[in-house]
Amino acid sequence: MAKFMFLYRGGHEKMKEMSPEQMQQGVQAWMSWIQGGTDAGWLLDGGDGLNAEGQVVQSDLSVIDGPFAESKELVGGYSMVEAADLGAATELAKTSPMPAAGGTVEVRQLSGHTSD
């Protein structure tokens, strides 16, 4: 088995127009997905959301406000997943609520944790 990180991006455009009831459905969809993955064992850590505002330390140690990416490019959260290979992890990413919310999931394998 290998470990993967899911990086969630975007979905903000749809969010702005959401009604409270749709927000409820959104939160509920995420919570059931996280619960389901945890119970099944493939979700190692549901992870967390990331606030948009932050700072970036440059190579010369200067600090800039950032990351200033387009909101659909900005990483908005992450989760940790265990799967047999990249293909299997990608299939799991498809089951997340992110695509339906208008966002993307980037699936990346952790380099140092490949076991076999």
């Binding site: 409270p20 927000m23 409820q24 959301g49 989760s79």
Partner: protein, 426 residues
């Protein structure tokens, strides 16, 4: 990190939590910062709920989710106010310090004080300076947490029209310099009857099947009943007519599920599976009606009594139509509405007076007071059927079909016409 930030890992929210939290916070915070800040408050509450969604979806719901959203909303509103000119800010804080306002808001959000803010907001949204449609739209927006798109879907208008209606209503209320107050005792009766009227119309918007069934519209029924219940729990507003309205809504609500078949098609009262009617709800409605005795019955009393007769009958033929006719007579004495005449005509027909009933319908037709003649032709069709005059029934249903707009109404009428086909000559 604050205690609220710690996840409990809870994966369930109370039903309609966001919707009701939105209404609650908008009512209390607008009361604190003044009606002129309604737009700011609405924006910040929306932002806070989005922040909650982002923060909770992966970590679960915090121990006190309502407190979490409130704190974020409060901070964002105060931040926005701090960016304003000093005199404007002073106005928003009504010469109080931020700490004073915070104390006040915390008190108003407490369980025993919350209804007061919600009721004040109901009276603002149902202000007599607004027309009925705007009052309904404002109530759905502010007190029920409906988005403009949802209001549009519920009221069968475009989102643009719903937006304009809400914006105009806010402008009118601002021009009236409304206070977020309860009506004075001198105006209480008149103001309360407007609120009752709005809630009943809102309920009917949700209940009506004229455009088919849409789950969101049942939410409108539920919200109207919830707000009516809020009135019922207040000493000054729990009048006999408010309680009768509560009973009326619950009698209707008991039949919500039976109005639709498994394919989502509308089922008429006569064809409904009465075992699907919610007996528990009917019992609750009964007890509200019993507690609604007053000096003279209102339209809500009489309409609730009619709904009760239907709820008590096992089938159409065992319904006490004579009693229904007498109740419509009394309603007509209060308000000579053509819709009451039409409904009484159907009841008269069912109780055996078909000729008198047909004459009633003719009087409405010549009076030209109805907007929906398809309804009139449907009623006439039913009366002719009762008189075993199939040819006349066919003619009436055909006329109704030519005016029917909604696909499910057309389907119902086509089915009627098929059943009435003349026997093939042997």
């Amino acid at each position: 990190m604050s205690a609220e930030g710690v996840s409990t890992g809870a994966t369930q929210l109370v039903e309609h939590f966001f919707r009701h939290e939105s209404a609650k916070l908008i009512a209390v915070l607008t009361r604190a910062f003044g009606f002129s800040r309604l737009d700011l408050v609405e924006d910040k509450v929306q932002e806070s709920m989005l922040a909650a969604m982002q923060a909770w979806r992966q970590r679960g719901v915090p121990t006190n989710p309502a407190g979490w959203i409130y704190r974020v909303a409060r901070n964002r509103i105060l931040d926005a106010l701090r960016r304003e000119e000093a005199h404007q800010r002073a106005l928003a804080l009504s010469h109080q310090t931020e700490a004073d306002v915070e104390l006040l808001v915390t008190e108003w959000l407490s369980e025993d004080q919350l209804p007061d803010s919600l009721l004040r907001m109901i009276f603002v949204c149902c202000h007599p300076a607004l027309d009925r449609r705007s009052q309904i739209a404002m109530t759905l927006k502010i007190l029920c947490g409906f988005s403009l798109a949802e209001i549009a879907r519920g009221l069968l208008v475009s989102t643009e029209a719903a937006k304009k209606r809400v914006q105009r209503a806010k402008k009118t209320l601002a021009q009236q310099q409304v206070e977020i107050d309860l009506p004075s005792s001198a105006h209480l009766q008149a103001r309360l009857s407007v609120v009752q009227e709005v809630l009943y119309l809102m309920f009917n918007e949700g209940y009506s099947t004229s455009q088919g069934i849409e789950p969101l519209r049942e939410d409108i029924c539920e919200e109207a009943a919830r707000l009516c219940h809020l009135l019922c729990e207040h000493r000054a507003f729990s009048t006999p007519s408010t309680r009768a309205l509560m009973a009326l809504m619950l009698f209707h609500a008991s039949r919500l599920e039976a109005r639709v078949d498994s394919q989502g098609a509308v089922v008429l009262l006569a064809d409904q599976d009465r075992s699907k009617w919610d007996r528990q709800l009917i019992a609750v409605a009964d007890s509200w009606l019993e507690r609604s005795k007053g000096e003279s019955p209102s339209r809500f009393h009489l309409e609730a009594a009619i709904a009760r007769v239907h709820c008590q009958a096992d089938c159409v033929s065992s319904t006490d139509w004579g009693l229904i006719v007498r109740l419509y007579d009394r309603l007509l004495a209060l308000n000579p509405s053509p819709l009451y005449i039409l409904n009484r005509a159907v009841a008269r027909g069912e109780s055996g007076e078909v000729d008198a009933a047909l004459a009633d319908l003719e009087s409405i037709r010549t009076g030209r007071a109805m907007s929906n003649y398809s309804l009139l032709d449907c009623a006439a069709g039913r009366l002719h059927e009762l008189a075993d005059n199939d040819a006349a029934a066919r003619e009436a249903y055909t006329a109704a079909l030519s005016a029917a707009v909604a696909p499910h109404e057309q389907a119902l009428l086509r089915k009627k016409l098929e059943q009435l086909l003349p026997d093939e000559p042997a």
